[in-house]
């Protein structure tokens, strides 16, 4: 998924990241100040500003959902990836990799819908769907990242008398970290999007004003929610791009 190696000079990306995150924070805190603008643009809409909930609360709820689900996905996903690359679990590796690949062809919105009969409406089903879906890229990239560690490097480490734990912590994980983080990046970005759709099953997210606007034919609501969630996703992606670069050691095992 990584295009970072091809992107422009890092300094301009940093400026972009700072500028967009400032814009995001300003909009989250001060969207109400733009009320005159929305009233001028949409004179026919009576409440031209979403007021059932503050945008700060919506953003925090959205972030909480993504953060909790991503923490679970990452810990379970990395653990699963580690298990299937150790001698004890190697037998499960082909199946787990295939499962992660097939699972990602399932549309996130469909996964969200299928969880509802099992888990009901609201925060919980959205969380379950986000965790399930977010797991897959993490598992896939953990396996791929650990697979890029050269066999000679492992041989050399063993020859130096390192234990299996030491090899894992000091050699394998640091070398695989960039690819693992790329997987976490994909997982988090997808989760930000799926959490938005989560408002259709009753979770409070930045998608709530969008859905309210679509249902009530109120375009300003739609724009307010969509701009915030779009910015949130882009800022998160740029931040992950910088994080990935921090872990690149020249060797770049690309995981698609």
């Amino acid at each position: 998924m990584s295009v970072s190696a091809l992107s422009r000079a890092p300094s301009s990306r940093r400026v972009l990241l700072i500028a967009l995150s400032t814009l995001l924070i300003a909009l989250v805190l001060g969207m109400e100040q733009l009320a005159p603008l929305f009233r001028a643009l949409f004179p026919d809409q009576d409440p031209a500003m979403y007021q059932r909930e503050s945008f700060l609360n919506l953003t925090l709820a959205h972030l909480a959902l993504v953060l909790v689900s991503s923490l679970i996905s990452v810990s379970v996903g990395v653990a699963a990836g580690l298990f299937v690359t150790r001698p004890a679990g190697r037998e499960f590796e082909p199946l787990v990799s295939t499962l992660a690949a097939i699972g990602q062809t399932f549309p996130p919105a469909a996964v969200l819908a299928i969880v509802v009969p099992v888990a009901g409406f609201g925060f919980v089903p959205t969380l379950v769907a986000l965790v399930l879906y977010g797991l897959l890229p993490v598992v896939q990239n953990t396996v791929a990242g650990l697979g890029t560690v050269p066999a000679q490097t492992l041989e050399a480490a063993r020859g130096n008398g390192m234990s299996a734990w030491q090899i894992l912590w000091r050699i394998e994980l640091p070398l695989a970290m960039r690819v693992i983080i790329a997987g976490v990046r994909v997982s988090v970005i997808i989760n930000i999007g799926t959490a938005t759709i989560g408002s259709t099953v009753g979770a409070k997210t930045l998608g709530t004003p969008i859905i309210a606007g679509l249902v009530g034919n109120n375009l300003p609501y739609v724009i307010q929610g969509a701009v915030l969630v779009g910015l949130l996703a882009i800022v998160t992606d740029l931040a992950f791009e910088r994080l990935e670069q921090r872990f690149s050691f020249g060797a770049s095992g690309a995981a698609s």
Partner: protein
């Protein structure tokens, strides 16, 4: 790097179990059958249902067939007596058998209930049913990987399995299930929305390829363009689908209002046009990236040789570069198709129709069957598209490198 065979080197410590994956799946399946409901039964459409276990739902012969197949699978997982090659074949057949028994029993239970209870009773599939179907599929996939079988065998197995399930459906065996009765109610609408879904996906893929492939060529020829191009396309891909759909509403409705002629062509805030534009924007990155990667993978020596033979630039492109880049370009098409099938679900929120319409309508009315009627076909469609295009990718490779 994939471990396709069970390591036999540790023969010094003979193990009883040769296939621990299968044992895990069998335990999970049995545990689910024992603890979770196989089906739910409610007196009518709106009443909440009571759960029905496997033992209660299956008739005597079905239960014995189920246990017999389970036992066959358990034996196949052991190191002895079956030789490995034979064991994989047995697993493939037995897991297909188990899948069909599970499906058949559910339909049969629904039919019996309607006769014994009341015609208005509703029978739905329970969680144990899903776990068992899932375990059967995983056991078959695992067996294929262990046997490191070729694509022809996989294709044949998929066709047989899909064909048997389709025949069960076509014979009307499932007609008494709650979800199928819901389907009968909306049969015409379902066909319409299904076609709308496909049309939306198709009309997004066309422009995406028409724009994306030349852009990929451009990125390959002009290195300086790459950074900006990929950054912009990555931006599109990052924006959550619902936000991108929604953000297109305002400019398009303004455009439709300003130019009534455009409005007559369907350029307005909601509906198919913003959906298709958003789908194209999402599809561009994989198409451009894979076109670029495919062309970049063509060995420079090959291009040199073609030029040396006196081919023109156009001939080199069409006869050498594109054929060699085709597998990578087709895997881009695969990503894009699967992605577009999924994103079209969300397009239903802006009035574009498609299978997502059932999902969101069902969520609004808490009609779970309706939700599943939207979600399951979408998933099946995505998996079929993925599998078909994967086959195409394999076939587009030179015969010597196929596997």
């Amino acid at each position: 790097m994939s471990v396709s065979h069970v390591p036999t080197s540790d023969a010094a410590s003979p193990r009883l179990v040769a296939n621990r994956v299968l044992v895990t799946l069998l335990c999970a399946g049995l545990l689910a059958a024992w603890l979770l409901p196989f089906a739910t039964m409610s007196p009518n459409r709106l009443a909440s249902g009571q759960t029905v276990g496997l033992g209660e739902a299956l008739s005597a012969w079905q239960l014995s067939a189920f246990l017999a197949l389970w036992a066959v699978l358990a034996i196949a997982a052991l190191r002895r007596p079956l030789p490995r090659g034979l064991a994989h074949g047995v697993v493939l057949l037995a897991s297909l058998g188990l899948l069909l028994i599970t499906l058949y029993s559910l339909g049969d239970y629904a039919q019996r209930t309607l006769v014994e209870r009341s015609p208005s009773a509703r029978v739905s599939q329970g969680s144990a049913f899903w776990v068992m179907v899932f375990c059967c599929a995983l056991a078959a996939i695992d067996a294929f990987q262990r046997a490191s079988s070729g694509w022809l065998l996989r294709l044949g197995y998929m066709l047989i399995a899909g064909g048997s399930v389709a025949m069960l459906f076509a014979s009307g065996h499932f007609d008494e299930l709650s979800i199928m009765r819901e389907y009968t109610n909306i049969r015409d609408k379902f066909a319409d929305q299904f076609i709308t879904h496909l049309v939306l996906v198709g009309s997004a893929l066309g422009p995406a390829l028409l724009i994306g492939i030349p852009l990929g060529l451009l990125a390959h020829r002009h290195v300086r363009l790459q950074g900006t191009l990929f950054s912009v396309l990555n931006f599109f891909q990052t924006i959550p689908s619902i936000a991108l759909f929604a953000l297109l509403i305002a400019p398009l409705s303004a455009l439709g209002n300003a130019f009534p002629l455009l409005g007559e062509w369907g350029v307005k805030g909601i509906g198919a046009v913003p959906a298709i534009i958003a789908l194209v924007m999402y599809a561009l990155l994989p198409v451009v990236r894979n076109t670029y990667a495919g062309l970049k993978g063509v060995p420079p020596a090959t291009v040199e040789a073609a030029r040396g033979m006196g081919m023109t630039a156009r001939q080199v492109l069409w006869r050498v570069e594109i054929p060699l880049a085709l597998p990578v370009m087709l895997s881009g098409l695969r990503i894009v198709t699967v992605q577009a099938i999924g994103l079209t679900v969300v397009a239903a929120l802006i009035g574009a129709g498609g299978l997502g319409a059932f999902i969101f309508q069902g969520l609004g009315q808490y009609a779970i069957d309706l939700v599943l009627l939207g979600a399951i076909p979408t998933i099946v469609l995505a998996v079929i598209a993925d599998f078909t295009l994967q086959m195409l990718v394999v076939l587009s490779k030179p015969a010597s490198t196929r596997r």
